[in-house]
Symmetry: C2
Subunit: 372 residues, 2 copies
């Protein structure tokens, strides 16, 4: 139809925890709930045609579940993240048994959102690492002083890690106030890089109160940092987009608070939320809990998430998967072979447990150095 | 102990989906995961003592579940919402089987967060409604023009409703651009108020991109609005606090996106998240899905949520519960009797279905007018 050129609608694929006989009615309810928020009988049909969701198909998925596809008009979805989140999962988050499994994204929407400012190629350029997997760790624990954290950062960088990020528990605590910590750690990592003729990134955590966030990002940039860490579900997802646009810094996104969406019956599956949505919102790298660690993503989920971060997504740059959450340094080469070199392994405790951070980092680097 | 005066620690009560024999180890893992993010063996005991969580107690809750209480030091939690959210549920959101059931809040933390700027008494003063329940509706559907929405707002206000809010699906769509909509609706509601010698509130929805949010709040204030609607889980929770502090506007908080946290085994129970946390972050009124409507909060959950919003919470003002989501106008008096007059009933479709919004509003008002 002329008002709906091919591909202009956002198509969302749901799994519904109801028998297929009830799925059509539920899908229609969702299509209206997420848009006009009135029952179909109370909405002028011409208006509904232009603004409400439209059920495109329903099919059984076992005896007690169904799949449904609903498409949403571009003018209801808009081109901004807040409204997109609202249409995607706002009200239906309160209705159990609805799970978003896949989204077909209109290219124009993706282009408007913008995606990673740097992406994988950009992070490789920033770190000067052309072919192999990137290696990352986190500075912790909270409670250490800025000087101690900077010493750790220096040792990890001297050992050959590419990305040294703050733990997301580091905020602006008196033990290591933000500005002091960032200045010291950035200086330490740059010094190590100069000695090793490399360009490791120190990535400070800038999640902060609404009115302090952009100031912390600007402080980090002025201190020489080229990337920052954010928890988008705490700052609000659009804050990540705003930091990208205002500062040009590369952004590492942390999955804090999002786990609640990853239930088997309800929610938004990780490849959509941490993959498509985080990437569209500007994450250059996305941390996620690797399978077999202390969280519970399946191997299949991790591979699908990698694909959503790195694969084609309209005009958006690929983003770097950053598996984490209990990776054993001794198995690093296994994970690089499994996930491919366009991956950053984020390894914390397993390095700390070795006692000497520089030696631990060097051993890790040696283990993956030649896998491309 | 001297470094830990009574009440300075944040105490979180968890339900763990493991037998009690395993609960002690899991609780200790949580206490470290949410703070130092390293296993106990890798953290200097003196530092852990000062910065990590501490397991205060564990007990069985049936054969396959346990309760645990963990307390967190004030200096790790800080006094700002982002870090609080991180300690509360950041990483453990990724670990199924952990549910937060209750929180004991240090009074100093609550005082720092500030809570509602107006609260129930303030909303009563703003609307000029001393004793009875408040009556609210939402302007919709998306797709109507600003003039049509303003006509609806006028009719609802003329009929005697106290709070006329935008639907949270109204953003800045071309069909009713934000500034045009706000100016027209505010004028219409003020005009109706002047005719009826009342002070109904028009409450525009200001959820917006990061860099536009505060501008929309200021525009609303300049247009004469005295309250605004936000979806804190989309803007970032701290944005609500920031709007409170920067504008002094009353804030109605919408639960969009939060439903994923309300699972039976994992998450944060509604009285903590929509009750304590939203209230502490500055919500003067909190919308929630009433029991028996099209979402699935139990009657017990609704009553508990009301209690958390209105009951004692350190120095914070009480916040107004705003049950919604399919309330039948014909049963309004039932809900007011059940929840008490310090409640705002938010009724949408049931008013729209009556055809004449002013008459529907007047009938609703008459039904609850004398219940105090």
């Amino acid at each position: 139809m002329s008002t709906d050129p091919q591909g202009a609608r956002l198509r969302i694929h749901y799994r519904l925890a109801v028998p297929v006989a009830q799925a059509g009615a539920l899908a229609r309810a969702i299509a209206f709930e997420q848009t006009v928020e009135l029952p179909p009988a109370l909405v002028d049909p011409a208006l509904a045609q232009r603004f409400a969701g439209r059920v495109e198909g329903v099919e059984a998925a076992g005896a007690r579940a169904a799949r449904a596809v609903i498409s949403y008009p571009a003018q209801t979805v808009g081109t901004e993240l807040p409204q997109l989140l609202s249409v995607l999962y706002g009200n239906i988050s309160l209705q159990p048994g609805i799970r978003i499994e896949h989204v077909d994204w209109p290219s124009a929407l993706l282009a408007a959102l913008g995606g990673p400012g740097h992406g994988i190629a950009g992070l490789r350029a920033l770190t000067g690492v052309p072919g192999r997997a990137l290696l990352a760790t986190a500075l912790k624990p909270v409670g250490l002083g800025a000087r101690e954290l900077a010493d750790l950062a220096y040792a990890f960088a001297r050992g050959g890690l590419d990305i040294i990020k703050d733990d997301h528990g580091l905020a602006d605590q008196p033990s290591a106030p933000f500005e002091q910590r960032v200045a010291r750690c950035q200086e330490a990592v740059a010094r190590a890089g100069a000695l090793t003729a490399s360009q490791p990134l120190y990535v400070p955590h800038i999640t902060a109160p609404f009115d302090a966030l952009m100031r912390r990002a600007e402080f980090a940039r002025a201190a020489g940092c080229r990337a920052v860490l954010m928890v988008p579900w705490i700052t609000g997802l659009d804050a990540m987009r705003a930091v990208r646009d205002a500062t040009g810094l590369a952004i590492v996104a942390h999955p804090g608070l999002t786990g609640a969406y990853f239930g088997p019956r309800s929610g938004v599956c990780p490849p959509v939320l941490l993959g498509d949505v985080y990437r569209a919102a500007g994450a250059d790298a996305v941390i996620y809990p690797n399978t077999g660690g202390r969280f519970d993503f399946s191997a299949r989920t991790c591979v699908a998430l990698n694909d959503h971060l790195r694969g084609p997504l309209g005009p958006l740059r690929p983003a770097l998967p950053m598996p984490a959450g209990g990776i054993d340094a001794a198995r690093a080469s296994h994970w690089v072979r499994r996930y491919g070199p366009d991956t950053a392994l984020l390894i914390g405790a397993s390095l700390y447990s070795q006692g000497d951070p520089q030696a631990a980092a060097a051993a890790l680097r040696a283990a993956v150095e030649h896998i491309t």
